[in-house]
């Protein structure tokens, strides 16, 4: 089997699961308990937090554990809206965000907030001029994803950070769910960003765990109220086994990051070089620095994405129609739609997404199967 759907989820690493199991068996006390058993769990929790903070070059108290990317995104958007509602009701994001951001924004719109979606160019990238024009005195949040989950575009985070230095009161959030471990950490953890969302299962940690970075001095209203865990900002008994597993997974992810990124880039390049020779293929992800090394999105014009996914599956290769979250709804890719791609193409898009465990041999196998399928669908594929 070849697994090329790592942006949907990754396989939990065996050594991470080992940590998860050991902690579940041996350190299962509640970190809030007074006794030594609980105290031990508390120390493991804090040591995990410290490790994550150190890996990202931030302070321990700036890391808050969540259930994953969706919670992180919801928290930053709605938490900002609640916290800063007396200062303004305008939020800015991009037209190509993950639904966790987009639908949180739409919920706020129903509650009377004003949302601006920044348009994107044909590579799926916003322009800072549009951002500058969109900022208003009542803007309270700018939320930009690091790496687009459907086509892999890297947003101009450094430039956005520069613009927002003129507006120190606006919360600046980066959704880095697809961006961590992809060689752009300095862009993400820049000197202006206030909040960053991360999700564990995108980097070989278990499901149901994630965290946000929250800059010291910035305030978010909690969405989870209760027993006061996570400095009273995110209540709920801490998922210590998953947190410890995630701390380990992050360390493993960032070990030899450059080498892993280069490997992913080489695999992407090999598939790219192969499929670009077919005239009925449209490729959205470029093999340039403006795109993440692990995502390649394209269409065989005229053939529905779903059809291609299943055809590859029959050959033991797992890929996806753009994002996993929307792929079962038969909807056109929202990113491609925002890029003004014709609907016929937007519904045909498929995505391969790599991780450090993939190999060039798998790329060759993919290319071989691709040739076969391209032939097979040659009767129905279309010119655009």
């Amino acid at each position: 089997m070849i697994y090329f759907d790592n942006s949907a989820t990754t396989q939990a690493a065996p050594s991470v699961l080992e940590t998860y199991t050991k902690v579940s068996q041996q350190v299962w006390g509640n970190p809030s308990s007074l006794h030594n058993f609980g105290e031990t769990a508390f120390h493991l929790l804090e040591q995990s937090r410290h490790q994550i903070a150190t890996l990202l070059g931030v302070k321990s108290r700036e890391i808050f554990f969540t259930s994953g990317g969706t919670e992180g995104d919801n928290w930053v958007v709605k938490g900002t809206a609640i916290e800063k509602r007396s200062f303004g009701k305008h939020l800015i994001t991009t037209a190509v965000e993950h639904p966790a951001i987009h639908n949180s924004m739409e919920q706020l719109r129903d509650l009377g907030f004003d949302i601006t979606y920044l348009p994107v160019d044909k590579e799926g990238r916003i322009s800072v001029d549009d951002l500058k024009a969109a900022i208003r005195p009542d803007t309270i949040l700018v939320s930009v994803m690091a790496v687009n989950n459907e086509i892999g575009t890297i947003q101009p985070l450094t430039e956005v950070a520069e613009v927002l230095k003129q507006y120190p009161k606006i919360h600046f959030h980066i959704d880095a769910v697809q961006g961590i471990g992809k060689g752009i950490q300095s862009m993400i953890m820049n000197d202006r960003v206030d909040f960053v969302t991360f999700s564990g299962h995108k980097f070989h940690a278990p499901r149901g765990i994630g965290f946000i970075y929250s800059r010291t001095g910035r305030k978010l209203a909690p969405l989870m109220s209760g027993g006061g865990q996570e400095s009273n900002l995110r209540s709920g008994t801490e998922n210590v086994p998953a947190i410890a597993g995630m701390a380990k997974a992050l360390r493993l992810l960032l070990t030899d990051e450059d080498e892993k990124v280069a490997r992913e880039r080489a695999i992407k390049q090999r598939v790219y070089d192969h499929i670009k020779t077919f005239n009925k293929v449209t490729i959205f992800s470029q093999p340039t620095d403006g795109f993440a090394p692990h995502i390649l999105c394209f269409t065989i014009n005229g053939v529905r994405g779903e059809t291609i996914v299943h055809a590859f599956e029959d050959q033991g290769i797992y890929i996806s129609t753009t994002s996993a979250c929307s792929s079962k709804k038969h909807a056109a890719s929202s990113t491609l739609t925002a890029m003004h791609t014709p609907e016929a193409i937007a519904t045909s898009a498929i995505r391969i997404s790599l991780d450090e465990n993939n190999t060039l041999a798998e790329a060759d196998e993919f290319n071989r199967v691709f040739d076969k399928l391209y032939q097979k669908f040659s009767k129905i594929n279309a010119d655009v």
Binding site: T19, K22, N36, H43, L44, E46, Q47, S48, Q51, A244
Partner: protein
């Protein structure tokens, strides 16, 4: 920037007349101790300045340590170039470009200890200033309060350039004031008092009273952890734990409730007096702040201080709680201090302790207990350990966890 040297400017010690050599020697020792694990660098403690030749060691890591050493006013990382103006220009321009942001101003400030050098200070200021103006776009000269001061020192072994001055911890070198004993409870105030004492040159030993089973192992671990944090300022500290359970039980049984606290404190002070003399200390330090709690009124101090003739120094006596907390946060003890473990001051605390205890009554109630015997047994049970910075007492399983993570 690849720095080659760090130049350290002394604090008040340069005003200390004939003791100066002694202070400089102490500071040199403390700096060497703080930097002992850097193998390449050399510390030269001269009369006016200290020069640390890095010889390839990491400047940033060295500076992070220096920030904690008392007796240092400030320091500047610098780059040594040969006595050749072209080399000076090249390095100076690179330094300025690294720091320059639009709108910034600068001046050149030259000192010359090598008077044989072909240019004098004014000529160097002039020539180098001109070069910088030519090569750093948009930079302007300003004599009063410029954003960047480029310091140039012409010495016989080269020309030293620095453009940054980093504040040191101030104070006096630890050890120059002699030895003191700190009553370290685990609360917010006592670590701050210890820090302030160390800042004035005191070689501080940490004394902790513990009362198992009324206080937990965690409370003891917390006190040790605080001691480890304070040890960052001196390289290591002695931690002295005194068993206090028997004394507290005895007092609880025999002394009226209103005077429990006062008599208890008198016994602590007696033990402090004994241990301080035993270990050749010169003063007792504690974290009392006037009027903060019942034991910290002037009447209480009369009743408690009665048992010792040693100076009892209270560095935070006039500070508000918020001021103390601010320092605790700066020295990284606050988050530890607020961890909720009972310490020996809070157990058996009566609901209404006397805020104005009478001295004669305190004395007579104390006579109800066997002071001498109790003290002897407590002193016999003392444990002394050496605590270093960076040790972990709270999380005993740190290494096991590190394996897991």
């Amino acid at each position: 920037m690849q720095y080659t040297e760090i130049m350290v400017r002394y604090g008040e010690l340069s005003t200390k007349g004939k003791n100066k050599r002694n202070f400089i020697d102490s500071l040199g020792r403390n700096v060497r101790k703080a930097l002992h694990d850097f193998t390449e660098l050399k510390v030269h403690a001269d009369r006016d300045r200290m020069h640390i030749a890095l010889n390839g060691d990491d400047a940033q890591k060295v500076m992070d340590r220096l920030k904690l050493v008392f007796g240092i006013q400030n320091f500047s990382p610098s780059i040594r170039v040969p006595q050749d103006m072209d080399a000076v220009y090249e390095t100076a321009i690179a330094m300025m470009k690294a720091q320059f942001k639009p709108g910034m101003t600068f001046k050149v400030y030259t000192r010359r200890s090598d008077h044989q050098y072909e240019y004098d200070t004014n000529e160097i200021n002039d020539m180098l200033g001109g070069q910088i103006l030519d090569h750093v776009d948009g930079i302007q000269v300003k004599m009063k309060h410029p954003d960047i001061v480029l310091r140039v020192e012409v010495r016989t072994n080269g020309i030293f350039l620095s453009s940054e001055t980093i504040q040191g911890a101030g104070g006096l070198p630890v050890g120059t004031a002699g030895k003191g004993m700190l009553m370290l409870s685990g609360g917010i105030d006592s670590p701050v008092a210890g820090y302030l004492g160390m800042k004035r040159g005191v070689d501080m030993e940490m004394v902790h009273f513990f009362s198992p089973p009324y206080t937990s192992e965690q409370a003891l671990a917390k006190a040790k952890q605080l001691a480890s944090t304070l040890a960052s300022y001196s390289g290591s500290v002695k931690f002295i734990q005194i068993p206090f359970t028997e004394i507290q039980e005895e007092i609880k049984e025999k002394v009226p409730e209103g005077y429990l606290m006062t008599v208890q404190r008198r016994l602590m002070m007696r033990l402090m007096d004994a241990i301080t003399r035993q270990r050749h200390g010169k003063a007792i330090f504690n974290g009392e702040s006037l009027g903060q709690v019942a034991s910290q009124t002037m009447d209480s101090m009369i009743a408690i201080n009665d048992v010792t003739t040693l100076p009892v120094l209270r560095p935070v006596i006039s500070m508000d709680k918020t001021e103390i907390i601010k320092i605790a946060e700066e020295i990284d003890t606050y988050n530890l201090s607020i961890m909720p473990f009972e310490d020996c001051c809070t157990i058996f605390a009566p609901p209404a302790p006397k805020t104005h205890p009478k001295l004669d009554r305190s004395r007579s109630y104390e006579e109800r207990i066997d002071v001498e015997g109790l003290m002897q047994r407590a002193l016999d049970g003392i444990k002394i350990s050496e605590i270093k910075p960076g040790e972990n007492y709270m999380n005993a399983q740190e290494d096991v966890f590190a394996e897991l993570l």
